[in-house]
């Protein structure tokens, strides 16, 4: 274990990825990011050393350069939903994972988000979800943002669904959501309203425990 820690404790090297798309591929092969040491990550997240090792092995296998850019992210996520188009939702997810808005996800971001989603408290999970829905990060979820998210989710279903997907299904869904969440009927949902409403709903509370055993 000491040897493993020793090999993993290395300095982080990071170069800002260029904005030019043509150079992006070349840049990806040169950019090499190494995460902080195993001990530090273990302290920062709720995962054990073993779990972090398994996670990192999988991460490094797919992204040898140590970072995931948005296109790769979309590609990976789309493979789980072959029926429909997962790219829009993947875009929102990417923004949620990339908390520092650097344009790429490092292993630390990845593991931090996973730690919240899988091992975090109910409060933390709901806050993460709120951040996901709040596309422009202004602290409020308005109807447009919610409609975008819901439409992205419905896009993942694809065309062939039962019952047949109607064009106003997302809108109805959003209306139902706002009906439930927006307590003071001011047209936006704040973090407190969101957390309060979710805590009142037993289904949501129960399903939040669903994914605990994923790792």
């Amino acid at each position: 274990m000491g040897a493993v820690v020793g090999t993993l404790t290395m300095q982080t090297k990071q170069r800002r990825p260029s904005t030019d798309k043509a150079d992006d591929d070349l840049e990806m092969t040169m950019v090499c990011h190494r995460p902080e040491g195993l001990d530090q990550l273990e302290a920062q997240t709720n995962f054990s050393k073993r779990e972090l090792q398994v996670l990192y092995r999988g991460f490094k296998n797919e992204c040898p350069s140590g970072v995931v850019n948005e296109d790769t992210f979309k590609q990976i996520y789309s493979q789980f939903f072959p029926h429909g188009d997962a790219s829009t939702y993947a875009h929102y997810l990417f923004n949620a994972f990339d908390s520092a808005h650097t344009g790429s996800i490092k292993f630390e971001d990845f593991v931090t988000a996973l730690s919240i989603l899988l091992r975090g408290s109910v409060q933390e999970k709901l806050q993460w979800t709120f951040n996901l829905y709040d596309i422009n990060r202004d602290g409020y979820i308005n109807k447009e943002e919610m409609t975008d998210i819901v439409r992205a989710i419905y896009d993942m279903m694809g065309k062939y669904t039962y019952p047949v997907l109607k064009t106003d299904a997302p809108k109805q869904h959003v209306d139902a959501f706002f009906q439930k969440m927006d307590k003071n009927r001011d047209g936006v949902v704040t973090l407190d309203e969101f957390i309060l409403s979710c805590q009142e709903d037993e289904n949501i509370m129960r399903s939040l425990q669903l994914f605990e055993n994923v790792i």
Binding site: R57, Q79, Y133, I153, K159, Y160, Y162, S207, L208
Partner: protein, 657 residues
Amino acid sequence: MAAGVATWLPFARAAAVGWLPLAKKTMPKPPVDNSSRSDEILYVNVSGVRFQTWKNTLDRYPDTLLGSSEKEFFYNEDTQEYFFDRDPEMFRHILNFYRTGKLHYPRHECIQAFDEELAFYGIVPEIIGDCCMEEYRDRKKENQERLAEDTEANEATDAPLPPHSTSRERLWRAFENPHTSTMALVFYYVTGFFIAVSVIANVVETVPCRPPKGRVKDLPCGEKYQLAFFCMDTACVLIFTFEYLMRLFAAPSRCKFMRSVMSVIDVVAIMPYYIGLVMPENEDVSGAFVTLRVFRVFRIFKFSRHSQGLRILGYTLKSCASELGFLLFSLTMAIIIFATVMFYAEKGTKGSTFTSIPASFWYTIVTMTTLGYGDMVPNTIAGKIFGSICSLSGVLVIALPVPVIVSNFSRIYHQNQRADKMRAQQKVRLARIRMAKKGTTNAFLQYKEDRALGVRATHRGQVLTSETPNKTKDPDSDNTALCVKNRSAFEHQHHHLLHCLEKTTNHEFTDEMTYSELCMTESVGFRTSRSTSLSSQQGVQNNSTGCCPRRARRRAAMRLANSTVSVSRGSVQELDTLHIKTTSIASQNRSSLNAQASDLKLNCGEPDFTAAIISIPTPPANSPDESLPSSPAPIPGILRNTRARAFTHETVKISSL
């Protein structure tokens, strides 16, 4: 699905937390993952070379030998490792495939040995990565052609005749392979001799002979000894005609024979003679007749039957036709350009031989090929300048870089072929991707069905305990348990994820056929409440053997999921044909294949189940017929539900008993 993606499944599932506040329905329970979580290192000993790898790495491809339980057959208890008595060099590539997800073809290895190794380890060659795919395909094609040639050569020459061959077959064989019998050999040489005689006669009859007495001018020998030449010609043509008719009679496929090149040459060689016989000695048409005589020279091509080299030359020319065409085209361009320039340069001069552009073509060709006959020469200064440019460029265009052009054309030719190959391979690749996508879709639909079945089985089990002895109850619940277990943990989790998405949006995944039917019925506007009565009806009528109720339940479940009643179909009878693929590219659990022998009654559990329900207008079939199990209750206007798949691998029909 790509191997590495399996490692991102936990992330995808975690991201599903984002759907939870939006979900309209409760989420389904996650699958229980009983497998040991801790990853262990496996030792694989291949002929003494020890490889080590994580168990997870091998589990990425559950449809191969190393990824399935088949490797347990090779487990050595004493040394706690998996021992394979195969080539360790090749195994390196196989293992790299698991590690990186890409299969590479080592260029120094024999293609057949590589194929055999792949077949042993259960890896389909189609997944060779793009970098090595072309090389692999080329080598494989080369090998196959060589083998085909060898077998053809072996068969063709010295194979003894089948015992009861007709005289016709023997005759054909004698014609094709003269070495088989002495008679054939004699005939072969006789025809060869006569071809030579005929060609020489054609040549000699134009040579001027000494004129007979009373004439001054030299006469061509053909006219002096007209009778002799005529007799010789007749004899040759008779032999050729006889040979052609014999070949036509002996040919196994007359149409094909008549269309072949050699037979066309034969016909062209002998037709002028007959036409000449038929045509009267008319001055007007004799001109045309003379032209026909030219075709007699084609008899020389009959030699190609006797000479292998000539045939190869013809084949080479044919295969290089495109390059030669391009060369000709570029030459034509240059000729036209220079001819035009020369014509206009020489237009003004008096008595110029450059009367028109086509007339200048001759000058350009003669100059560019550095022949320089001198029958046409430019007189103006501009003409001379351009003429010299023409001859210099002729040297450059034709004489010097001929080898370079040849090699360039060879390269361009191969590049074009590669482009065509790429296009063809692209089609194959797209088809593969589509199939894999469909595979995942169908796997998920299958998963949903099995869940529904599982629920129903338990219900049914409870219902039946009171009525019938336990025989039909236990195997079914065991069967469902086995069905469920036969899928990998990854698939379970992935299907759970898709199920969560369904619950979030309150819509279900279906396949293309059902969707189009749904659209159809929405326009027809039929009520769907009938289906519920059907399912209960199905639940009661389970009087056949252990598997039929399963199938009936499946059908009922499918009817529930896709409750449409097609009005237009009248009373047709459904026929179920269950296909189970024996090989597939999409993930398929091999352990279920191994268990097939004992679980023959199951005929389920394969994620890539195809149920193609074919409706044909026949009266209800009898159930004893194994491959055509009838539906328990023939219902007019039966619900149509297809989930056909385009896989073309071999299908195995499982008996219903």
